[in-house]
Amino acid sequence: MKLSLRLSCLLLLTCGISGFLGCIPKEDSSKVITVWHWMTDRQSAFQELSRRYEATTGIKVNFELYAPSEAYSSKVRAAAQGINLPDIFGILGEKRDFASFINAGHVLDLTPYMDADGKRWGDSFFPKALEVNIFTEGNSYGTKAGVYGVPIDITTIQMVYNKSLFKKLGLDPDNPPSSFNEFIEIGKKIKANNMQGLVSGWTEAWMIDCFAYNYAINIMGEEKVLNTIRGKVSYADPDWVKVFGIFKDMRESGILANGIVTMINKTAEQLFANDKAVFAFNGSWCVNVYKGMNPDLDYAAMLPPKVSDKYPMVIRGGAGSSFMVNARSKNKEETVRFLKWFTDREQQAYFSKATQNIPANKDCLKDIPEILSQFADDMEFAIHPNIWDISEFPAVTESIDKGIQLILIGERSPEQVASEVAKIKEREMAKKNN
């Protein structure tokens, strides 16, 4: 008897303590705005802005960080299931997922706010930044047309090159290669000098995707690419074989760094920052990263060298990160007001300087540092698949990215990949039409 009594007391005590800890009353949520984000590097900038907002309006804004981004994405989706989303959150993923969130009723339609006052808020942004958050009339997701998110910065994904390594190779540091053939030629020099050429996080499928789509649009034009996604053009088309062939050419020329297919982007950044690679394919966030690892790095931005002159060379660009408002938030008006303040010129200028990123507000460009402005200048060439009204099937995207990886390690030819992708596309189209 005594023993079981002791045990049950111990058990009850533990339950009691943890239950007590769990029952601490939640804060009064009427004057608090909660923001969930994944941007570790910006937490201090966010907190500073939150302090300023509280000082001027008395409203508390809690920025809660959940990293890394995959875990954040899982948390947001779980919270959506449990109808527990915070006032402000971000949706990481494709337009398709964004549409699902909207259709499930989790995202507030911001169109009335953006259009108010003669479109004052909407017009303060770079059109390309806002575009990824817009759903057009008659889109393929069945979402009501409108603006559903707020961009807080701009990112472009381009190439950068190391000027001091250029000098070592005997190349003109102010004249990066503008044509693909020039680019490949440099590969031979790099190999001869035992250096590493292009680094990029190409174990991450989306990075390969970026590069491939840039060249796809350069080779066949945006319309044909869109028609391929719509299913009207096959991936076995010779133009697509040309796109896949680019990777084969790069591999054979020696322009790619060793093990590029096993590199995560952080590794690629660390290599480029330490003068170990001549080229990098990375996004404008790299400015901040390189500065942290090697403030003396002598580098500049360049467009990916084009293959054809028929169509323009494009780069992936648009909103870097966007915030969405919870449609079920108890503080809708307060939240929107905060976001308006957050994306206003003064705050964006501070934010951009503090985090070394291109602002989404178009009136702040003069405040950004030199190297970033090189990225910003190329915004005119920027394009983003999320502005299209249709997404490719995930199985097809996966087979494209995996196929390219296989080309890069020499296990497939461009023709083989093209026909494999075409087959998977047919299968997915058949499934959809059933």
Partner: protein
């Protein structure tokens, strides 16, 4: 009085059963039933597709089976190389040698490190351009320059390298359990055998192996279950699936969940994975049972 005794039995298992039912069985049933739907994990509506997901896994998902083969390969290396090593070290430490305690602590450091750290550190040790290239340098110094290789970036060797690192991390557990098992064998048995004229190999075969059989079975099953589910280590070492060369079932499931937004399909994959593990464990159980009787 009889009733009290019977009730007592149930009281013993009650807490376990209650917690288990709530926190395992219910989620399991939820996920099991989700495998019958097409669902992206976000929309409130799901589309019932019956066994289509499972059909797709079996017939139209070569990537899944490649992942299974890869996991099987890693498990095989763990069962043989890792456990043989663990047993050898446990046997070495079982004898009366100095520094036994020191080794016992040192050998368990790899399991204590988290998989992310292990992946990061070993990647640094092995890789040449983004690491210290230590393995290759050692090979050259030892006089084997033609063995130098891109262990992690060559698709042919990447999986084996991953399996070896996994074994490095895992052998500490086998070592511990084997050592505990070896220590339960009474010394008198060995003494008696020595007096009877048996040499080391004979006493090993006739005393050690039979008495250690249940422990070996235990370690085998834990190894299988642990190695089939490896994935964080792969992310640290090669960044991802390496065009399928280092893909494993858990990574495929996470891809279905997060990248392809196919939650229902991911659940179906999870269920298939579980079924296969049950079959493998059952086979292993039968095998060790037969061996025990031999």
């Amino acid at each position: 009085m009889k009733l009290k005794a019977v009730l007592e039995n149930y009281v013993f298992v009650l807490p376990a059963v209650i917690i288990f039912s709530i926190f395992y069985v219910i989620p399991f049933i939820w996920i099991f039933h989700l495998g019958l739907y097409n669902w992206d994990g976000i929309l409130p509506t799901k589309v019932f597709v019956g066994l289509n997901n499972f059909k797709e896994i079996v017939l139209q998902d070569p990537a899944w089976w490649q992942a299974m083969m890869n996991a099987g390969y890693i498990t095989l290396i763990a069962l043989t190389f890792q456990n043989a090593l663990a047993f050898l070290l446990a046997w070495a430490c079982d004898r009366e040698i100095r520094m036994k305690n020191f080794y016992r602590v040192i050998f368990f450091i790899p399991p204590v490190l988290s998989e992310i750290v292990v992946g990061m550190v070993w990647r640094f040790i092995i890789n040449d351009i983004d690491g210290a290239n230590i393995i290759n340098r050692m090979l050259t110094a030892a006089g084997f320059p033609n063995l130098v290789h891109n262990w992690l970036s060559d698709p042919k060797t990447a999986l084996t390298t991953v399996a070896l690192v996994h074994s490095w991390k895992g052998f500490g557990w086998g070592f511990l359990i084997f050592l505990a098992g070896l220590q339960t064998i009474p010394r008198e048995l060995y003494e008696a055998a020595r007096v009877d004229g048996a040499n080391a190999w004979q006493s090993f075969k006739k005393i050690t192996v039979p008495l250690m059989a249940p422990v070996m079975a235990l370690v085998a099953i834990l190894t299988i279950l642990g190695s089939m589910q490896v994935f964080t280590l792969i992310l640290g070492l090669v960044g991802g699936e390496f065009a399928g060369h280092t893909s494993v079932p858990v990574l495929r499931i996470l891809t279905s969940m997060r990248v392809s937004s196919r939650f229902g399909y991911a659940c179906a994959q999870g269920i298939s994975f579980g079924l296969i593990l049950v079959v493998i464990s059952f086979i292993q159980y039968r095998f060790s049972h037969k061996a025990k009787q031999a």
